[in-house]
């Protein structure tokens, strides 16, 4: 994590979101730096997806500032907005692929929209993104309804990567996948991050993903946010955060990813290190 540029790509200040009488966010501040994987966690209804939607412009906050690549997205002109949209990719929960188009056509939608490219080059790029997302060659000509849930997510990721974005937003990328597929998806994100230099903003419930690939973690609690490295979060004494990271599932995920020496003292760790 050293060597991160100090200028944040995304800068959220004093964000307030309210629906009817329900306050979801009450003064949320968040910085996302280039090249990091930031995991967003929080209980159900704590506003993880609302935060993501606010940053990508699908939800207008009641109060607060959101800057992406130094542009205030809430006051951006249409041209500025399009320039930003070229530089990010979003993977929605179930892929959100256009059901009337094949997977390859889905990937070509942003290419067609933003650039004037010959069809042959678009087909090559679509195949490349399929490969990067770990999909087999024949997936391109299939329709979304013909794919399994895990493949739909990979196809959604391929579309999110179509324009070689600098940042990708992932909304619960491993939810609904079996543990093996979820682990593979984590590896995929880590590979793409290191090779493409991606910044990843990931809403997740998956503790294994957090320990496996996240550089920093942001926890939404009490309508605010707490951000820090995993080690800092593990030492945080907020009751919800303690329950989250030190519950049985949290401990299991830590043991799976951390070197056993850190967990010295527990019988399982002792036996595996021996």
């Amino acid at each position: 994590m050293d060597g991160l540029p100090k200028e944040p790509i995304i800068r959220v200040r004093g964000l307030v979101n309210r629906f009817a009488t329900e306050t979801v966010h009450d003064g949320v501040d968040l910085d996302v730096f280039g090249g990091e994987v930031l995991g967003i966690v929080g209980g159900s209804g704590s506003g993880k997806s609302v935060l993501l939607n606010t940053i990508v412009g699908l939800n207008r906050p009641v109060k607060g500032d959101v800057e992406v690549f130094g542009t205030d997205v809430l006051a951006a002109s249409e041209t500025e907005q399009r320039e930003i949209e070229k530089r990010w990719g979003v993977l929605f929960q179930d892929g959100a692929l256009f059901s009337s188009l094949t997977v390859a056509q889905n990937i070509e939608v942003p290419l067609k929209e933003f650039y004037d490219m010959p069809q042959r080059l678009m087909d090559e790029i679509a195949a490349l993104k399929l490969g990067l997302a770990g999909l087999p060659e024949d997936a391109g000509s299939k329709f979304p309804a013909q794919l399994s849930g895990g493949m739909r997510k990979r196809a959604g990721l391929a579309r999110a990567l179509a324009l070689d974005p600098e940042i990708v937003f992932l909304d619960e990328p491993t939810a609904g996948l079996d543990p093996i597929a979820a682990g593979e998806f984590d590896d995929l994100i880590r590979d793409l991050k290191s090779s493409l230099g991606l910044t990843v903003f990931m809403v997740t419930h998956d503790l294994d993903s957090l320990f496996a690939i996240c550089d920093r973690v942001a926890v939404l609690v009490d309508k605010k946010i707490r951000v820090g490295t995993l080690d800092q979060m593990l030492r945080d004494d907020h009751p919800w955060i303690r329950a989250y990271f030190h519950g049985p599932r949290g401990r299991a995920a830590q043991q799976a990813e951390r070197p056993p020496s850190e967990e010295a003292g527990t019988p399982i760790a002792a036996s595996t290190s021996g």
């Binding site: 094949t102 790029i125 060659e137 309804a145 070689d164």
Partner: protein
């Protein structure tokens, strides 16, 4: 963004061809670079060096262009070397090399452009129609069985749901049905008066209006409006429930979807449509009556006495008699298409359209059959 543009230079160096690339090889300039790379005259069996020293920034589209060129050159027997690749870009090239081995995606072409494809499509559509007819008949049987079971156990009829359906399909449709029937009455009276005046037979406008509205148009207009308004709603409601797996949930809870969802809609519409028809008839006659008064000077008492003379009660009853048949068609098609929805949201829209088209079509066909049969029976 937007500092050094991407450049590509070709130089001959002894027996080596050198391609020197520099600048930002990003997806934004990929189309231009693709054109330039493709227009290069590729040599055969030579030593080729691709020099990447001047690359400032590159993304996967840019890396793909280099790797594709490398592949193309190798395929022509050249010895290719990528040189001076900055170490920071090496993982990207590895990743693209691993992922980019795929052939460009091919788009499936619709095959109905050929003659055989065209004939095959006709066959497919015919078979599809046939299997739909069979499955619709099956659905009809299922509903009939459920109805018979309800007759034995009337307590299982969901009255609340039925009344709520009657409110939605009947009470909430009063404004639109009344308005349109009123206007139809006006149109018929006006056109009839225009024609009949030439023969001095203006008074027969009332006959034309009464027979036209009571026997045919009142019930037909009502059925068409309800098919568009409620038939589509049935398909969309049941279809959305299928997408959400609510139908599956009903079944696992031991509830019969036909009993819970179809019967209240079917019985509700069977009761509602005749009542709406009577109302539509009244509004149509009212519109015609006002028009006859305005254009022909036929007063309201004259209109009523001519009406009593012109139409037998049978004319009225024939119109109302057709209503439950139309109601059955609309409700059955609407519910059936709802159950045909697969788990994709897209099919809800497609089947809703289909349900409206089918039910209007069948309503008009049935009306034509009634006309032929009734005239053969001289009723």
């Amino acid at each position: 963004m937007g500092s050094a543009a991407a450049t590509l230079k070709t130089t001959e160096d002894a027996d080596t061809l050198v391609l020197t690339a520099a600048g930002e090889w990003l997806v934004a300039s990929a189309a231009d670079l693709d054109r330039r790379l493709r227009s290069l005259e590729l040599p055969q069996r030579r030593q080729v060096t691709i020099d990447l020293a001047g690359i400032d920034r590159i993304d996967s589209a840019g890396a793909w262009l280099f790797l594709r060129t490398e592949q193309d050159l190798s395929a022509r027997g050249n010895h290719v070397e990528l040189r001076h690749l900055a170490p920071t870009f090496a993982p990207l090239f590895d990743q693209v090399r691993a992922g980019g081995a795929l052939a460009p995606v091919s788009h499936p072409r619709p095959d109905h452009h050929s003659l055989v494809g065209f004939i095959a499509r006709i066959g497919q559509i015919t078979l599809g129609l046939f299997s739909r007819a069979v499955s619709l008949l099956g659905f009809f049987g299922l509903v009939a069985l459920t109805a018979a079971r309800l007759l034995r156990h009337p307590g299982r009829l969901r009255l609340t749901a039925m009344v709520s359906q009657m409110e939605q399909t009947g009470v909430n449709a009063l404004a639109i049905v009344g308005m349109l029937s009123f206007l139809i009455g006006i149109v018929i009276a006006y056109q009839g008066a225009d024609q009949l005046r030439r023969f001095g037979a203006e008074i027969y406008t009332v006959d034309l209006l009464a027979v036209g509205i009571l026997r045919e148009l009142g019930v037909l207009m009502t059925a068409i409006i309800i098919a568009g308004r409620s038939g589509s709603a049935f398909t969309a409601e049941i279809g959305t429930m299928r997408v959400n797996q609510e139908i599956d949930a009903l079944q696992t809870l031991g509830l019969d979807p036909v009993e819970v969802l179809v019967m209240p809609r079917l019985l509700g519409l069977l009761l509602t449509l005749p009542m709406l028809t009577v109302y539509a008839n009244l509004m149509g006659l009212l519109g015609g009556c006002l028009m006859a008064w305005a254009v022909l000077g036929i007063t309201i008492p004259e209109f009523i006495s001519e009406l009593q003379y012109a139409v037998a009660p049978r004319t009225f009853w024939i119109g109302v008699f057709k209503a439950p048949f139309f109601a059955g068609i609309i409700a059955m098609i609407g519910c059936y298409e709802g159950f045909q929805v697969s788990r994709s949201a897209e099919s809800v829209g497609r089947l809703t359209t289909l349900s409206v088209v089918e039910s209007i079509f069948l309503v008009i066909v049935t009306d034509a059959i009634f006309s032929v049969v009734l005239s053969a029976l001289r009723i």
